[in-house]
Symmetry: C2
Subunit: 478 residues, 2 copies
């Protein structure tokens, strides 16, 4: 029996989703608050998830020719100011270094909130000829954006991310790379995190400071809210003109480069929690779980039990299943609860009766289904189940997403749906920022994106009634 | 024939070692200067070496039970001040954040120069019982120390490193971990970087700010200078007392924990260059080289050459040799020079004559030996040669180290040796800091360490003549 006391310390999702989230983060020991305002501590279990995300994403990047680099964490104020929209977007939330040791600096330095300006500075120095293109650089680092309110993984003054920055000879090449990375992000989230994404383009109001266009992948959390999970920006030649990044083409004519940038962050861990978690804690997809299986001995002082568990554990490890053997002196009930809180995809239970029958019991975290299996066949079955769990988790998340998107045809219906039904609303839009502002004021919902899969579900804007230009996905967002 | 023009752009090691170093860093495209004073840009070829170092070290750490975490990059001034020696050591070179957005901060924040204080703050919150010990945490991050003078990889205001921080129940456990990590570092450097290390203890003058004892591994560069390559510190319970980190032992008595920290950084890339490099550029040990073999077609427009090179390249890849096929329109001579500058351990040359003879030529970067080998057997031979090169590089470096350590028995001899012979000098020391200061003033040499392998080569201190306590290794250092 699962130890109820441990689990009861987690607030129910239905009672208070925000509190449930905080409880899970804390009980699963993913993160801790630090004594520095707005900054978080990634504990081993949280950081291990990030390491798995990094490893998988990094390999995918490299397959497309991306190379990793590392640029300074400081940006001189004058450099940040070179692109007008960009500085307006980021300077107000920058942390500023003004002293080096005991000396006041001549020019203050921003701790990077993002590194477009540094990459532009580098590219202006190293790009000369069409032979130097494309440049496909990425860096893994932490960035700082001074935040007033913070939430673990979702919003903090410092967070970890990757930022890709590319330079191309033509506008077409830049657009192709922007879309390629957005698709790579969406594939990664579906295949590794079991989170289905809606791909689309941001409206001008929501796009990145300095970008020509911003593409986004949006995920739906269990409370129906949207989480922007990754963005890919096409800068056109805007930054190139501001930073004078030119190359000689084959005819020896001087041209501006076209640029992109794209990023995903530790927010993804927040998405994992809020898409898959339940009232017992975390539920991790097997492909991203640092531990895939916990072996729990039942009556571990009984003859043969520990030996049996050790053999079982060895067979899982040999089969490539990332396993732990929980042989502490805690009760089995405590261990069951612990494996559930941590979201370990499978549990293997073995007691004297199982031993006598030559079997053990595999327990799925996602469905809690108990599957008796012969000890000899346990490792193969576990591998099969991990694949099944990964598949089922994606399908359940997809089902949830699909059944929580509503179409709205008039504004009263739109407002009522946003108000009363957790999820997204699809509605037509005239293209004017004023309507986005009105909708936000009336409902707190924002335009999440103009989905790639456009449909013309009505002829007029949901807000102003003028002729509609685009289908927009609306939702309340984290 | 190697294209001489490219190679000639590198200053000879014997003419000007410092300039040679800078030339290699630049020509091998490892690093670039940034527009931020004292900060460097890790270019793809430099960063790829760091990624390999990280991967290998991280796996070794984890085998000893270490877990990765990530702590904030900011340290409030009051936290940095909690341990007296520590703040004196690091505050003068800290970068200070004083503004968050438009608001002046109530308390200024140091960008971490090292994270002892943050880990102590965390440990004081999460350690309660002997069951919570040991804590074996590590983090990979960048740190900032405001430097007046900088050199690529060796000294810069921001650098990349790992910092391990552990907490233990007893002084013995802490000492054991301190030594374990030093040995791990030395093994890693020998086996992966092919750099032999001298292990020893730092004198009090040279130890880390706040440590009870500091252990070090010291490497000898080609110019005879020492590079401190990794350090491991035993803090005793000093930090625990300053930060009040206590636990209840089995008898329910409150005790202070004992702590260690240990770090290695991107300096190691500097060591790789200065130990193995030659007048043609970098020479990378196969186990750490991002590219292990370059296939160079000779007369690539001749019939069958490109097909043959492609087949050869595929066979290397299939055998797990990290290879590139250099099929650009540059001349073979340029490609030979390029493979040498980049320090790629092996080159495979294939031209029409080779093709007719069913062979190719493998060329070792370290010895330049040319080894004709049948095309079918090339991949196996390459794998064998990579092992051989790794072995030979370590042995050559060990031979260089061993033949450049001199014993000194009187002070005039000591000074003459330090002055005239590149390398280290072993000499006895009385234990007083005054003699270290005198020696530094007279020769610019410092005590590198008191080697673990102690010998009593004389009875009196090399400097003051008083009774000797320790054998010390002296050298000029980076």
């Amino acid at each position: 029996m699962v130890d109820k006391k441990l689990v009861e310390e987690i607030t129910s999702r239905e009672v208070d989703f925000a509190q449930w989230y905080t409880d899970v983060v804390k009980k699963a020991q993913l993160m801790d608050y630090s004594s520095i305002k707005g900054c978080m501590i990634f504990k081993p279990r949280g950081y291990a998830i990030w390491e798995n995300i990094q490893k998988s994403l990094d390999a995918r990047f490299k397959e497309t020719g991306v190379e990793n680099v590392y640029l300074p964490m400081f940006i001189p104020e004058s450099l940040l100011q070179k692109e007008k929209d960009h500085v307006e977007g980021f300077a107000p939330e920058a942390a500023w270094v003004t002293y080096g040791g005991n000396d006041e600096l001549v020019e203050r330095l921003a701790v990077r909130p993002t590194s477009e300006t540094l990459f532009c500075d580098l590219y202006s120095n190293i790009i000369h000829s069409y032979r130097d293109l494309p440049k496909l650089y990425n860096q893994w680092c932490s960035v700082v954006r001074w935040e007033k309110t913070t939430r673990p993984f979702l919003r903090s003054s410092e967070f970890l991310w990757q930022e890709g920055h590319t330079a191309h000879a033509t506008a077409e090449d830049a657009e192709e790379r922007t879309i390629m990375m957005l698709n790579l992000y969406a594939d990664f989230c579906e295949q590794e995190l079991a989170i289905p994404m809606i791909k689309g383009k941001k409206t001008d109001k929501e796009k990145f400071a300095g970008a020509e266009s911003t593409y986004t992948i949006e995920a739906m959390m269990h409370d129906g809210k949207a989480l922007q999970s990754g963005t890919s920006h096409n800068f056109g030649d805007g930054f190139a003109r501001a930073f004078d990044i030119t190359y000689s083409d084959k005819n020896n004519e001087l041209c501006y480069v076209y640029q992109t940038s794209w990023g995903m962050s530790t927010r993804l861990i927040g998405a994992l929690i809020m898409v898959h978690g339940d009232d017992s804690g975390l539920v991790l997809p097997p492909r991203i779980a640092p531990v895939q299986l916990m072996v729990v001995p039942i009556g571990q002082r009984k003859e043969g039990v520990m030996e049996g568990c050790q053999k079982l554990y060895d067979s899982f490890c040999d089969a490539g299943v990332k396993s732990v053997l929980e042989d502490s002196d805690k009760s089995p009930g405590w261990k069951f609860a612990e494996s559930e809180i941590r979201g370990i995809p499978l549990r293997a239970e073995l007691g004297p009766k199982d031993l006598a029958a030559g079997q053990c019991v595999l327990v799925r975290r996602d469905t809690r289904e108990k599957i008796p299996v012969s000890i000899d066949g346990a490792a193969d079955k576990a591998k099969e189940l991990l694949v099944q769990i990964q598949h089922d988790m994606l399908e359940r998340a997809r089902e949830f997403l699909n059944t929580h998107i509503y179409d709205a045809y008039d504004y009263e219906e739109f407002k009522a749906t946003i108000e009363n039904k957790p999820g997204f609303v699809r509605a037509m839009w005239c293209g004017n920022e004023e309507c986005e502002n009105t909708i936000k004021e009336d409902t707190t919902a924002t335009s999440r994106c103009m989905p790639f899969e456009q449909e013309r579900i009505a002829e007029s804007c949901i807000c102003c009634g003028k002729p509609a230009k685009k289908l927009v996905l609306w939702g309340k967002a984290y």
